[in-house]
Symmetry: C2
Subunit: 220 residues, 2 copies
Amino acid sequence: MNPQNEPPVSGTDTSRAAGTDWRRAKRERTRRLLQQNAMRLFLEKGFDATTVEEIAAASGVSHMTFFRYFPTKEDAALEDDYDPMIADLIAERPAEEPAIDKIRHALTHGLNQLYDSERDVLLARMRLVYRTPALRAGTGQRRDADQRLLIAALAPTAGGSRGELHLRVVVAAALAAVTEAIRYWAESNGADDLRHLIDEAFDALRAELTYDEPADRPSD
Amino acid sequence: MNPQNEPPVSGTDTSRAAGTDWRRAKRERTRRLLQQNAMRLFLEKGFDATTVEEIAAASGVSHMTFFRYFPTKEDAALEDDYDPMIADLIAERPAEEPAIDKIRHALTHGLNQLYDSERDVLLARMRLVYRTPALRAGTGQRRDADQRLLIAALAPTAGGSRGELHLRVVVAAALAAVTEAIRYWAESNGADDLRHLIDEAFDALRAELTYDEPADRPSD
DNA sequence: TCTAACATGTTAGTGGCTAACTCGAAGGGA
DNA sequence: TCCCTTCGAGTTAGCCACTAACATGTTAGA
């Protein structure tokens, strides 16, 4: 019936996993299929106008199967797999580097590796997110998860001396800078290079806080 | 039937609004009633376990009326009226003060005026928010609104010289600091003074970014 | 071949939220 | 005083995200 469901009759072709976990391979295939169809429909008709039933039907499964792969409809538009990469990149930074620079350089580094291949799809997704209120709300939850991830990655080297609140604030501010850069990028339809905007965002933060106040800011 | 629906028969008692807008007074009364019942039920039974029907019934109206006052169930738990006050306080700061200090001092100032009277209700609300995923998501939208408000309040004095992105980043970072302070406060069940935590959060941000150490920015 | 594990489907809900329509009361002018 | 507009609120019906309970077929391993 469904041509992809056959067990590994010949076994040796593209399956990088032997024996027991061709199931996992199929799961991943189904997951990708659902996500691709979801994104395609979201971009075609808008997020709200697309029902889970449609996504499931386009993927040849029932809507229950969709929810077994994605806890909410939002997740099908928001999930990505960058997180472990970022954690690794943070661990590679020199231990004595300030936390905010660790984050900055790790992100810049990771983005450099992805930019050529994923710029367009990332831009399309972000434009969708920023034009869809329901997805904007979802990004909040993801930011919480990212924050926890970064805190966990930074805690071993930066944790002791400064307090918990300190670390949380720094991570949250760094994420805020990145988020604003991405949003700016999406709103200007990718006109600038995202990496440059992220640099600008972090520079802005530093400039604002190292500005030693007195004087007068000459108004334009 | 409903004792509050009578027209102003005697007119002169508590109604501070004359003539045509006793309707507005009634609207506000209904709104407050709904919000109070909502908060009470949320705290008693949890946000998810409380249905809009229950809130409406407890307030003596139909669920449609609830949605005429609050666009979503989340809004009944999240709405407050601090925003205009913050905008005013920002406008009162000296024009040459850096944006982030404007925000910091305006917030500290405003909080000082509310702290004695509203600390407990604010704490209860925040504890509810941080234990309810659906409400956490809602805070993202509110933060967007707050960010826009602050940008609008700051743009006249800080707008021209630096870029739009700069201002957005600074405001987002400041809101991140405040948010982390509030969350920390709620998680520790109000053990510390919130105003002190907010000061600590802003200090952490400044300390992290004024930490000089040029060193090497490793390229690759 | 028997059985446990597992992916998927079916069905029947709950509940947030919306739309179309109606009702009734307030208010203003004739 | 009567009419007529306005507006808050109710009723009803429905859509859709999401869940729970149960059934079914298929693979994995003994």
